[in-house]
Symmetry: C2
Subunit: 428 residues, 2 copies
């Protein structure tokens, strides 16, 4: 429950979701807690009633609350404000970044979409709000996830706000910032001795057990609903640009899902007539770290075979070695004429500092990845320096302090006297 | 510069500030970079044109941007959007906290005003945005502060966004989260071997030097403008409650200024006719830590003599041993029939966990202080459990992880197999 200013009533909006549709073979299934196709085992996503989407207007969205739920007419859950299980994330700042553009060599407008401004300081609040609202409607009473950290933070905080039970699963070697920020909410926190991919596999098995029948794993058994939450990032960019699409977007990839959903959001907005596409369309660029780059490597090798890797490196929130949506990310990047790049840990640290120094946004390692990849893409000529570009910062620097803690610190240390300040050079 | 959605044009709004007025003797001075009265050395604050304030309407505010600048007609700077030096803070969530109310024994509505949602995750973004916008208009080109951490974060980030120079001064023993989050923006960061009060004294001396003529110390030479930024917290609470005032507010105290400015905001809103006061008025409650409690002790002793202390304890952001606005905080609390309390470090840690578990808000130590004081005030009967109450969380738990890092952590640690999960009790 939030204040009156945040939550106008839009409970008469119908739910536009129609069915679960297989991304592989196109088979359709009723809207339930199912994530894989019974025909071909392909992943499922939400299909919509086209007429309901086409009926949505800019004015209807503008009259909605100042968070993701303004886009409820385009989402598979949350039309009834009273039935939401949410921290009301979204409508995060879109920041004009002229100084960053100048440093990386862009001369068209550059924007940073800063999702560290969400309630638990990552874009995961968007997907969790949609997933848990759908899960509650489906009858689940306990909420779970496999996570590299940010998702765990978000699920635990959402459950605490709602007074619900949660159990989240993370690799045991996570950053302290992500462990404490999850544990403090008081739910169950299970540290697994293994990689994220190990955690994910175990959660897939647990979700099939009788003991977890009451439990929605946001990124497993209700994944189709969860993934749709990422569309709101694309909708917001379009609305914040005055109902225009940028010509280029640079997006970090873990599972690859976020990239595909921003592309899906842009496609939907064009199809339903809320925006005109740019004259030459939009181009989607993907960012990974050198320690976990299976999707980018497949693109560079011109193959559809994504070879799983054992992730290493500091960009832990992106460390998914066997990316569930990798193929679809490849498809989106190839279709739109974009590209993918990856950067090493030193470049990531430089990226964090570059973004902070030029925009005032302190990003976690994933944001360092995206900023460093932006620079690399301009340098290599893959990104058009004369085309309007949006880079996505998906998380908060305070959660990965160690990445830069050894590189930055006080520039001066002095005793509290004018004389000491003068000796330290502070008075010229 | 922000997106079109965030920043409607309101450049025709006049600046309502009239003069600097001495809080002690009432002497008036022109609007300049002056913070102490030339007659009695009392602190100065902003006086307004009453007719300009009275002309402000709810509709005018509602049509403004979704941040503090919607209240520009009530502030001493920032009427022209193009002249702002700002991260656009404000309009942070007001969260209904029924579970917290139940645990502490309140049966009237309880709300948490969560200012950790600001761009650098503390309420300081409000005061810094107003101070730097005023300072820029006054011709300053470098921006500085004496800080316990959050203020330094905010000044450094604001300067980075604006491409301006900054030099911030902090005690050398600050939390890592606050050092790194300031240093990463690339300005000068001076660590002082001493307490905040030592830092503040040195900055007062530096501000008088020729070498710092170009430098605005936000909380020293432009303090009157800076302090007014805190009024926006009070305005937002009123607007988010549907243009009503709560009957009770619980506010953390460092200098004591925030408490006085929330009270001033409520007073102004009543005077200019934007809200009706509650039938029995509002009551203001102040929260300190046991390690730094000079204002609360003065209240308990029934005196106006605030005896400076050497601060100790984990609530470092509140550790001002010689509080500049302490007298005015005492006045506001006595006038409104409120009270002050203080809590020790264990109570602060419990307060952080209680707030997180019941609301999903992870606060820094200052928020733990306020939550623990809320509980204490209800238990002692000082706070009316049947009166609507707002508690202010002014900062982010990620900045003070150490406070709870030893108390919370994984509830289970297992190998990635169903068998290990069963052995650990996860399957009943």
């Amino acid at each position: 429950m939030t204040s009156t200013l945040d939550a106008p009533l839009i409970s008469t909006t119908p739910n536009p979701a129609r069915a679960l549709v297989c991304r592989g073979c196109g088979a359709e299934f009723p809207l339930a807690a199912q994530h894989a196709c019974y025909e071909c085992f392909g992943p499922l996503e939400i299909g919509y009633h086209a007429d309901l989407l086409r009926a949505v207007t800019r004015e209807q969205i503008a009259a909605g609350p100042k968070n993701i739920w303004r886009y409820a007419p385009l989402l598979p859950a949350g039309q009834d404000p009273a039935a939401r299980l949410t921290l009301n994330p979204g409508l995060t700042p879109l920041i004009r970044a002229d100084a960053l553009a100048a440093e990386v060599g862009l001369h068209a407008p550059l924007w940073v979409k800063d999702d560290s401004a969400n309630p638990t300081h990552s874009f995961k609040d968007r997907v969790v709000s949609v997933a848990l609202t759908a899960a509650k409607a489906l009858g689940f009473t306990r909420f779970a996830c496999a996570s590299t950290g940010n998702l765990a933070n978000s699920v635990a905080a959402h459950a605490a706000r709602a007074g619900a039970r949660s159990v989240v699963f993370v690799p045991a070697d996570l950053e302290l910032g992500k462990i404490v920020t999850t544990a403090v909410y008081g739910g169950d926190l299970v540290a697994i001795d293994g990689s994220y991919d190990d955690v994910n596999r175990l959660c897939g098995e647990l979700a099939e057990t009788e003991e977890f029948e009451d439990t929605a794993f946001v990124n497993i058994n209700v994944r189709p609903y969860y993934a749709e939450g990422s569309k709101t990032l694309g909708y917001e960019v379009a609305e914040q640009l005055g109902w225009r699409l940028p010509e280029q977007v640079v997006i970090p990839m873990a599972s690859g899902e976020l990239l595909t959903k921003v592309d899906k959001a842009f496609t939907e907005l064009v199809e339903i007539g809320l925006v005109e596409p740019p004259a030459n369309g939009w181009r989607v660029f993907g960012a990974q770290s050198a320690g976990c780059n299976p999707i980018a490597v497949a693109l560079h090798q011109g193959t559809d075979v994504i070879t799983p890797v054992r992730p290493t490196g500091i960009a832990k929130s992106l460390n998914i070695g066997d990316p569930a949506a990798g193929l679809y990310a490849l498809e989106a990047v190839r279709r739109t004429g974009g590209w993918m790049e990856y950067v090493d840990d030193d470049e990531i640290r430089d990226g964090i500092r570059l973004l902070a120094r030029t925009t005032g946004v302190f990003a976690e390692t994933a944001g360092g990845v995206t900023t460093a990849v932006l620079r690399k893409l301009v340098a290599s000529g893959r990104l058009d320096p004369g085309a309007e570009t949006v880079v996505f910062n998906t998380g908060e620097g305070l959660k990965t302090l160690d990445a830069v803690a050894d590189l930055v610190g006080p520039t001066h240390r002095v005793k509290p006297s004018l004389r000491a300040a003068r000796d330290a050079g502070l008075l010229g």
